[in-house]
Point group: D2
Amino acid sequence: MIDQSAIAKANDAAEAGLRRDYDALGEHLHRRGIDIGAIKHKVAGYGVAVPSWGVGTGGTRFARFPGPGEPRNIFDKLDDCAVIHDLTGATPSVSLHIPWDKADPADLKGKAEETGLSFDAMNSNTFQDQADQPLSYKFGSLSNADAATRQQAVEHNIECIEIGRAIGSKALTVWIGDGSNFPGQTNFTRQFERYLDAMKDVYKALPEDWRIFSEHKMYEPAFYSTVVQDWGTNYMIAKELGPKAFCLVDLGHHAPNVNIEMIVARLVQFGKLGGFHFNDSKYGDDDLDTGSIDPYRLFLVFNELVDAEMRAAEGFDPAHMLDQSHNVTDPIESLMVSAMEVQRAYASALLVDRAKLKGYQEENDALMATGTLKKAFRTDVEPILAMARLEKGAAIDPVSAFRASGYRAKVAGERPAVSGAGGGIV
Amino acid sequence: MIDQSAIAKANDAAEAGLRRDYDALGEHLHRRGIDIGAIKHKVAGYGVAVPSWGVGTGGTRFARFPGPGEPRNIFDKLDDCAVIHDLTGATPSVSLHIPWDKADPADLKGKAEETGLSFDAMNSNTFQDQADQPLSYKFGSLSNADAATRQQAVEHNIECIEIGRAIGSKALTVWIGDGSNFPGQTNFTRQFERYLDAMKDVYKALPEDWRIFSEHKMYEPAFYSTVVQDWGTNYMIAKELGPKAFCLVDLGHHAPNVNIEMIVARLVQFGKLGGFHFNDSKYGDDDLDTGSIDPYRLFLVFNELVDAEMRAAEGFDPAHMLDQSHNVTDPIESLMVSAMEVQRAYASALLVDRAKLKGYQEENDALMATGTLKKAFRTDVEPILAMARLEKGAAIDPVSAFRASGYRAKVAGERPAVSGAGGGIV
Amino acid sequence: MIDQSAIAKANDAAEAGLRRDYDALGEHLHRRGIDIGAIKHKVAGYGVAVPSWGVGTGGTRFARFPGPGEPRNIFDKLDDCAVIHDLTGATPSVSLHIPWDKADPADLKGKAEETGLSFDAMNSNTFQDQADQPLSYKFGSLSNADAATRQQAVEHNIECIEIGRAIGSKALTVWIGDGSNFPGQTNFTRQFERYLDAMKDVYKALPEDWRIFSEHKMYEPAFYSTVVQDWGTNYMIAKELGPKAFCLVDLGHHAPNVNIEMIVARLVQFGKLGGFHFNDSKYGDDDLDTGSIDPYRLFLVFNELVDAEMRAAEGFDPAHMLDQSHNVTDPIESLMVSAMEVQRAYASALLVDRAKLKGYQEENDALMATGTLKKAFRTDVEPILAMARLEKGAAIDPVSAFRASGYRAKVAGERPAVSGAGGGIV
Amino acid sequence: MIDQSAIAKANDAAEAGLRRDYDALGEHLHRRGIDIGAIKHKVAGYGVAVPSWGVGTGGTRFARFPGPGEPRNIFDKLDDCAVIHDLTGATPSVSLHIPWDKADPADLKGKAEETGLSFDAMNSNTFQDQADQPLSYKFGSLSNADAATRQQAVEHNIECIEIGRAIGSKALTVWIGDGSNFPGQTNFTRQFERYLDAMKDVYKALPEDWRIFSEHKMYEPAFYSTVVQDWGTNYMIAKELGPKAFCLVDLGHHAPNVNIEMIVARLVQFGKLGGFHFNDSKYGDDDLDTGSIDPYRLFLVFNELVDAEMRAAEGFDPAHMLDQSHNVTDPIESLMVSAMEVQRAYASALLVDRAKLKGYQEENDALMATGTLKKAFRTDVEPILAMARLEKGAAIDPVSAFRASGYRAKVAGERPAVSGAGGGIV
């Protein structure tokens, strides 16, 4: 999608400075007993999936302000995703959302081959009504009081599995908006029983080598109660369903102040961490760019992940995906920066001196223990990330390279302009 | 809109029970030294404005699930508002939103006369782009970095004033979504300076007998910072603008745990309480039905209002309006119930024995002081509200009467069905 | 403790008014198809345990301001508890805290017989260091990195069980403050493994007919992470320990905005609801008087409990206890009022028309469903509670009767004054 | 307090590595157009005040776990503060708390000269009762319903001013715990009127060249309402009192999710930012070590401060003080690390390319604007801080040097051990 020679040209200009920074960091890390090459190798091997819907401009219930060159369909979206991977080398796969991305599986596979991308988890949608849909999800989908509506939602999930099988996906992510807006609107227990029954039907349709991820969220679109409201309920679900069922953690789906890294640790400990939707938030499910509000929190999550990786925690194999809404930036740029933020958190967590940390923890030396994390966090790993990109032919500075490439202007010429639209409130 | 004889028939069936309840309550209140008739008189005189947009089904950024008979325009909306007032006798006025409700002022006035309604505060909209709008509000309106965009937003507000003058409104409510989604995206200070400058231009256009209400909100649609983020900034605005400027308090626009009734008291004390947008919320700006989640909080707000009313606090004259999003109920029903909840909170607050309360407060008798509020709150004032409705020809049980009336089926036959639409995320 | 004739005299003055209110309510409820006598019978049979420590004035980390007549020991405390039960008839049992209430079991039993009280769950204390304690809990107790410290904490819990056996208790409540104040201070996983191991040792010492309750709390005294931080972890604990292990829900121990009644429903559904610590809160673990801030939330919790009671949910038998800190009121008065608030929530929840509610839920009639709850909530059940008290020889108005009794002045004469003390910060 | 030769010896071992890191950073910053020497110069000139009470181990309402060598009085505390400044070179002044630190002013001045420290703002205490105090603050101090109690609190504040004058302080910080625990316990308006009247009396006693700082806090020790609950009320106070009155911002005293850096910007803009109490928090007023939970938030606060400094905002001259509770660490170590964290945030904010930032802001280039902040934040400025310390004779690694010094063991031998004490709940 992006002309390789343009990337190369931009890299040429930046390479000398990068090499100086990389060498200085290598020397510094060497004094700390860390081999920069080993870190770079791990970072280079790390990838995070991009959500197909992330390359379009997002919106709120108040409004949506589209930008130029909005993708018209899944094939445009895959083009945009390919740009992200070309420039960052960090996003080898794409997660599809059905029915938004519905297309002939052969065409999807062909496009994937052409763009060098693969398909991550499938996402079903039972939180909206589609034009041709017989029964409405206004009052819920998998937990609806009406059996036929639940069945429709089950079948949609099974269809997502089938599409996924055809294109090489190995997981289904189920997020529903089911809940209630008023005390008493639903009976919590009966609603959850219905949900579990429906999910068991979906689970039965899961191929042997697939996993199913249930995703919890505290609130929105339901504003009084939500069926899968927190990790406690999510864990119950994964236990009830069976060994192929896991919990997905979206960083923005928690109550204020909650210690998310601790939830991650608990799910790892009990073998039920399925994966992540990365993003950041300040107030609610803000879907802001990953690491943009609280980068240290992101690091602390990765500190848990690296800890589990290092001790080879049983059954530990989480899926990593970005899930953001880009309302005021170019979606391609935001996704590139966010993919690098995730890599950065991973790289920083790799720098933690875990032997020392363990020693401080056992001696209750809180100051030195936390200082051990801080030392890793404040080390600027940008040269490692940039060198990994350079070595795989991606851009030292992906945003500059993207802007220089003219890609946005090009697709804006090909894809018709979309006018501003109100959100749900009108 | 609703056949009076149908209301009368329904009332006939319920009247005997109501009279027994009313008499028993009257006797009980008499023992507490309270004249039930005086309370009923005040309740009967109380009214809350209905937002024109409230009679349509609301939505979230994920989806909107319309119901049958959605109003097509402001005239349909006024019909629905008239039904609410016919049945509750509690909502004599309607608050318009421009441009959604734009129409020939003469037609608006005619329809108001026909339906017996009047017009409350005007609401401007600079948080969405309209089809014919030259400059986008994607990056803000009254505080936009671009002077021409600010000027466009100023002119829109002035247009709202002009329409309002023509139809008898006496206030302009300004809520903007301006803010930022990323640290550094805007300079807080310059952005607020621009906002103040623009608002001063709007203020200049305000007729002598008008008021301008600025409305604060913690977040959404902006997710990192919001220009008018809390009552502190809102108060600064009202002070900067001048004596016709006041703060509007929406019950759902605050940080978690905030003591809203105390904010109300502060604004009353400093002469800057302009009015309310009533609704309820559990998580964020949920826009749930007033009093549906925490009815005691609503009572505590009214406790402040009645306190100010009783001591005739200087400059105290707040506007009262509902502002809710009805996603899973019939909007007419929700608005009727909510109008009655506001009345209920007012009636309950009138029952507080304020002389005793003051005594307990001065003696630091916390238990008896709070018990004085609780005693008023737990007294069931429904018979007072229902009797007030009965006596003014409204319905003892408005929801039952509405359902019996067949109004929804009738308008569903006249107004074309609207299909489900995605919210801002698609 | 309180002169029966004084109670009788006060009741005489109030009885006529009460009977009128009771009869009017009975007639009203009859019209709604509810037998007031049946409700009164259930309310009369309901009791909530009082915490022994609740009868002393509480404090914050900043200060404690004792009142007159502070109890000196468990025997004074039992006297105060007896007053509460004499006047309300609603608090037949007391929950002890070891070592604060340590005494000869025979003396404890004797005092209980004398006062007509029994003993509810035992509470251990490993969140403070005692004068004679060899190892400190500064860095944790049951999850401490040091095995000997964990063992000390285990033995303390076993001692609590032994004391409890001797005095007729049937349950142990374990709340610990273990956690961390800094990211990295502890390893979440190893810390939780240590906790589970230690709890298993306590569990082994549990008599056949006992239950063990683990209590979660989001934060405080640990301010970055807490071992038993939420109901998810709490549920894991109860599952790991075995069939005698259950989760205890303190209403003030949750993240902001969390839907507590839903957590209650989940724990009932999965057979692990052990009981409650009732109180109320606005910001954190404020330990305010039950129902003083959000009485509707308390009602919604009881709505779940009555729902489970009515359908005889398997294994449903929660313990009910108050757990409050009385900083500005007379503790006896606050506990009386709070016990009545719990009764009130129970009585109100009994008024819910559950057949209709179920119907509305199945039809997705959110408005009528929530209205069904609201109708029950707003019915003033005070006459039912007061009549139940009158009929069992307790006071129609316990606070007035207490004030008239002179009890506080009497014990203030017997118990030495305690001077104000700083909290933990000095 | 600390042997200079020991510091020198430790520095010798670390100096070579530091110089390499410093040079590499200098070269890197040079490429970004930044002169590392200029940054170092500013950092070296920066100082933050230490609170006298911070050198003792803190506690919660549940318990306090003292460490070895707890300071017995203000003179011990000043010794400890001197150690912090000797090793970090970043804390030249100490803030006293009356009556805790009451002593002969001449002795205080003498000790200050001896230790090379000066005195920052004075802190009054009307949130606790002292042994010899005639009237209790149980129900409030400056806002108490009783005039004599308010007068006592006013006089205490005036006494603090007088002590401060004698020792060279130039400011009084007033934080009160006044508020209420129950709805209705106080009348918000009358309570605030009393507070304002009392503060006006204190203000009158302020010397010409002094400032008075009022400090807001959302809750605790009052749990339903607090008189000075937020920056809005705080701003009203500063406006009512006059030109010597300013608002103090404690980073931990806000509602969940609140954008604190924006509050800072507003107070700067309206000329009322008095200063800071630095600390960090995850849940409430956790008083954790500065920058330990969310270092990016601390950076964003300093981003506002440097912005104001660079444009020489009118009346901008905030006081900087740490205010933390050290429950699980050595207080001297925590204060050293925290002082360096504040310096670090300042240094990082100095690296922001403000010309570019302004350009991005005016072009609404949100991605590059936020990236400009992130680039500054992720640059590891530790070599700049360490070099500034080295050059002023402080320690390259203050914690290591402190541990090597044996200071804690020495004072533990001189100062009697303090036994663990319960907090406010016993």
